[in-house]
């Protein structure tokens, strides 16, 4: 009866693992393997023996780096409780470790004050570079990131572009993904399609123009998904109805109330498009409260795919983001910059994928 070994993965050992094997501090191992600073001959021999034993290979990146590199990347995520970010972190971690870098993570819970604090912690802890899914909405909110860059710490944005920063950003095709999902609903015959969630403003914007103005002052991803929804309506000549867009705080409770409201309209929604996991679970609760079921009473499509969405009965049609690839690409862009590459300062856009399952059916016009 033998316990199976934990999966060691493809990644070579990190500086830290070599240090542990040699019984020396991480800084000593980094100095020895990086070829900078003083290390006593005895410790040096131990580190090299440990590196040999573990199969550590200094890569071109490590060799190209100058003194004082800490071999650590910092990642600032907006909400560690969102499985999307967990998947992203795995991609960052796998790629970073394969290139000899450890990763430390801070979560801001969508709070700009915490993002400022997190950035300062990472500067303080002397990370070599930072990947951030920023809560910053405009140019008044990016001083902390500029301060890190001023100290020579390169930054790559992930998930969310920030217009005020001319940086590499690794994102998905949010607008196109939303448009495709809403087109599937329209193709099934729906014209009354709810959008969950919209900008977190207190009152529903009366016009499309006001709605887009509100979106432009809020999260880039949310705005892009809203634009995709509007694109699909426009193409099908379906007029925009402000009553079908959720506003207010982005919480599951709020979704239950707002979708409930849309289901109680005289000309109620026959489909709901959810841009977040909480939007989907909230919409499902709203359906149950109203005594309705999917896909016959209401069609549903959501972000992001998960194991749960696949086991729902009927299984849910969902947009799957390439979460691991997003993280891996962000880490790769950052590590390339650390290795001496000139930042491209461009938007790297990955494709999401609509997984069609069984939560979309035509509207039941007869019973309306």
């Amino acid at each position: 009866m033998e316990t199976m070994p934990a999966d060691r993965g493809q990644a070579g050992p990190t500086i830290s693992e070599v240090a542990a094997e040699a019984g020396v501090g991480r800084a000593t191992a980094a100095r020895t393997l990086g070829g900078y600073g003083y290390v006593s001959p005895e410790l040096r021999a131990r580190v090299l023996a440990a590196a040999e034993k573990l199969g550590y290979r200094a890569n071109a990146l490590a060799r190209s780096m100058s003194t004082g590199v800490s071999h650590t990347l910092g990642v600032i995520v907006a909400d560690i409780g969102n499985p999307f970010f967990a998947g992203l972190l795995r991609g960052i971690s796998d790629t970073s470790r394969a290139r000899g870098f450890d990763v430390i993570v801070l979560s801001t819970y969508e709070n700009l004050g915490q993002e400022v604090a997190a950035t300062n912690v990472l500067i303080d802890k002397r990370v070599d570079g930072v990947i951030v899914a920023s809560a910053a909405l405009d140019r008044d909110q990016v001083a902390h990131l500029k301060a890190a860059m001023d100290r020579g710490i390169p930054i790559v944005l992930v998930d969310r572009a920030v217009a005020a920063l001319d940086l590499d950003a690794v994102v998905i095709d949010n607008r196109e993904a939303a448009r495709e999902a809403v087109e599937v609903l329209i193709a099934a015959g729906h014209r009354r399609i709810g959008f969950v969630w919209g900008p977190p403003v207190a009152q529903a914007p009366a016009t499309r123009r006001e709605l887009l103005a509100a979106a432009s002052h809020n999260l880039w991803t949310d705005g892009e998904r809203l634009r995709g929804y509007l694109d699909a309506l426009d193409d099908a000549h379906i007029p925009f109805d402000p009553e079908l867009v959720m506003v207010g705080p982005k919480t599951e409770e709020r979704v239950v109330g707002e979708v409930g409201r849309m289901l109680a309209l005289p000309d109620r929604v026959t489909a709901v498009f959810c841009t977040e996991t909480d939007g989907m679970t909230g919409s499902l609760r709203a359906l149950r409260k109203a005594g309705l079921s999917y896909p016959d009473d209401v069609a549903l499509i959501g972000f992001d795919d998960s194991a749960w969405a696949a086991v729902m009965e009927p299984p849910l049609t969902m947009i799957a983001q390439p979460v691991h690839e997003l993280g891996a690409k962000a880490a790769q862009v950052l590590l390339d910059i650390l290795g001496g590459a000139e930042p491209a300062r461009e938007m790297h856009t990955l494709r999401s994928r609509l997984i069609q399952r069984s939560s979309v059916a035509p509207p039941r016009l007869s019973s309306e």
Copy 2:
């Protein structure tokens, strides 16, 4: 049309936020507010003004600390992709921030080598204390944590006790929680109850004694949940059947195969108890493959409750761990030690809660 402000929470500002407000480095703010080291009169004045403006209050803890405190806690979690750990981190973060500490996180993906590396990173980054959900299984696997303690870094275990370490551990009543859940299944009339998942051994242990021996060399939480399952069977005089315990890798794919096997037995399972989220989603996939549904064909109870479990149709009966409280308590114990309290070196056990919904019905004896 006004954008609603992000929730700032009850927590006071951290050192980092004061530093950002003052436009100084975090170390300067820490020295000023901690009353140690040299700070120029001008910077000192700026920091104090910022602290005043933001309402920063140095607490007794901060005042009691000696020079060089970094006001950062390190957290090592086994898998950042598990929503359980995400909830735990929120509890740690909220409590730490309320006491002026930032939190940095590393995920080991259940890999001991990565845990060793993570510990070394945290030593290197000079965190004041560490909270760890360790992948270590026995005394040969804890040298890295002992090394951190030797450097004066206090450690608190969370979620998982490690017998080889005489440390404070903040955990839930895993054995009792599992016993209670299985008792509910037995009370409904079930005697053929599957256990997902057991120890990750390659072959099913033939006897109860071998099973417990295997469990004792694997994760503490898994072993405790297995003991609770056996307790409930014993109390009801239901004989242990090794065919009803899943072994092998702890993955959703493996669950699908193993539960499928248990459903194909001549005397098949009529209920499944799942100790992890992947155990539940895998069991649901196995039911679908077998053309069976819950609760009538098979009763289900699982760990951990989630928004998805509540919106499943029928909604799932689940064990809810007090995830936020677990994290908050672990942070509190660690911060108390940092503040000068003597470590109690005890197991702090919090109560979980069984949320009865609609996934348990009596077995359909007539159709068996």
